[in-house]
Symmetry: C2
Subunit: 312 residues, 2 copies
């Protein structure tokens, strides 16, 4: 009913690979969007895309009644909402916080209660799909929240997502399902690295191994997606080792809260922790295979293999 | 050149779910096949399919120059080839042993050398695809061996397999690639169970979880295939827990031989071992989730849920 005006813009906090994709997707469908990032370079990049930007979260409050958080972790959520120059206390009543970071479900539940007590809505809305899908507005969103929260967030969700799973009527369910996905994704990447290490240590050509496994019952989405990084020796961080150190620690923390032992996820966490400790934390998560290589007698494919003959 | 005659039949040793499927696939394309199993019931079942059968491996020697071993493990391979009434010493020179069990690659290498020393050929030919694909002659075979071995085994392979991967010119490579597949398959089943346990413990509806994960980056071939057994509470053993106790122990043994630490596979092995210890060894491998259920406060779907309302 209300016309587009001051007070109805959408804020996007965090203009990293995911947030920048989300914010530009919104620009492209004509939504009034304001980006926010501490990094001047990120802000300038968004302005170059035709957007407006601010440096601190509280600056969004006057114009936005929907704010999408695309930050790294719960600590950053705390900072942008409740820290110095934080946003939560400045927003108009009834505004919506759409929280997209992977956080502990227990944190998502508590955050929803805190925001509700401030007359703010919250959508628990972790995202999946990576930077490419963020850029094309085709993310998957594993979400939960009230009907009012969904109604308020509809335009933003339409712009950023190909698929919105509605998993419950309050915060917590979205983060729970995302956590299950991260458990599996992390274990599958570590398993892919470990299995490729086994194959190479036995003398099997890694390209051949990839070909056979991707057509067999041992395949996983992550095996198919990440092993090519190993084969090309390309550890450019599409998603970094340290992301899984973070996410599998949330799995661990949640298991502790629930007294649920998860030894398979625990072993994968240790391998990502070792990769980070060895200095590979900011490389692509497929670099977890370097933990195996450092402890065993096999050679990883080298980048310059690509220039010469293919072993395929 | 030689016409079909005494001496050119194919023996299939082991008429379990896999061997029976293989033997009947051969019958259906008109190959002269003789089945062999210690179980009288299995022999009678094969006769009911129109086949011939014998009770001891040595009885195959007079008529067969190709013998396919579809037994459970290396111990059974030893018994049928070299045990009392074993086959290896009886076969005509130049005959082929096609060995389909999942065994340690080091065992496959040594077996090939022993058979060669007896003037026998060996195809290292582990199979994949389960009982259904065995029955329809559409298995995948991860194989290695000499050109002579492939030539001699061609008709048998054509009858039993949709895809034959030729991975090397001597025994070992086939078993190595199969072992990598079993590493991943075993880890993925344990991870699927663990992740479903996490989701259910957090209160997420398991059918919803299945729907979301199978469309997300956390998916695996095994998650998609095995979790429905949990959702239907159907633990009829299409492939049993004890198979992965066996196969992940071969992974463990091979890691020990190669001094390659594989903590992710090790954690999965412990979960299958626990499932077997709790009495679920002969149930479907998805029953590894019962290890989690016994140690935590969540309910598994019950079989009679199917009769009533669906939660989907």
């Amino acid at each position: 009913m209300q016309q587009q005006a001051r007070g109805n813009a959408i804020g996007v906090i965090g203009l990293g690979a995911m947030g920048m994709g989300i914010a530009t997707s919104m620009l492209e469908v004509g939504l009034p969007v304001i980006g926010c990032d501490v990094s001047e370079r990120a802000r300038e990049a968004f302005v170059a895309h035709g957007g407006r930007s601010v440096a601190t979260p509280d600056e969004l409050a006057a114009e936005c009644d929907v704010v999408v958080l695309v930050v790294i972790n719960a600590e950053q959520v705390e900072m942008v909402l409740f820290g110095e120059r934080g946003l939560a206390g400045e927003l108009a009543p009834g505004s919506l916080i759409m929280q997209c970071a992977t956080v502990a479900p227990s944190y998502a539940v508590a955050l929803g209660e805190r925001l509700n007590a401030m007359n703010l809505e919250m959508l628990d809305a972790p995202i999946s799909g990576g930077a490419t899908k963020a850029r094309t507005g085709e993310l998957s969103v594993m979400s939960s929240g009230s009907d009012a929260a969904y109604a308020k967030g509809q335009a933003a969700l339409d712009a950023m997502a190909a698929k919105v799973y509605r998993l419950g009527d309050s915060p917590g369910a979205g983060s729970s399902v995302k956590l299950v996905n991260q458990h599996l994704a992390g274990v599958h990447i570590a398993a892919a690295a470990e299995a490729m290490a086994l194959g190479m240590r036995m003398g099997i050509d890694p390209d051949t191994l990839y070909e056979v496994i991707t057509h067999s019952a041992g395949n996983s989405w992550m095996f198919e997606n990440r092993v090519p990084h190993i084969l090309k020796a390309d550890y450019t961080p599409l998603s970094a080792v340290d992301i899984f150190v973070k996410d599998l620690n949330i799995v661990h923390q949640t298991g502790r809260e629930l007294s649920l032992a998860m030894p398979v996820a625990a072993s994968a966490l240790q391998q990502f922790t070792a990769a980070s400790g060895a200095g590979f934390g900011r490389e692509d998560d497929a670099a977890v295979i370097k933990v195996y290589q450092r402890l065993s007698a096999f050679e990883l494919p080298a980048a310059n293999d690509i220039q010469g003959e293919s072993s395929q």
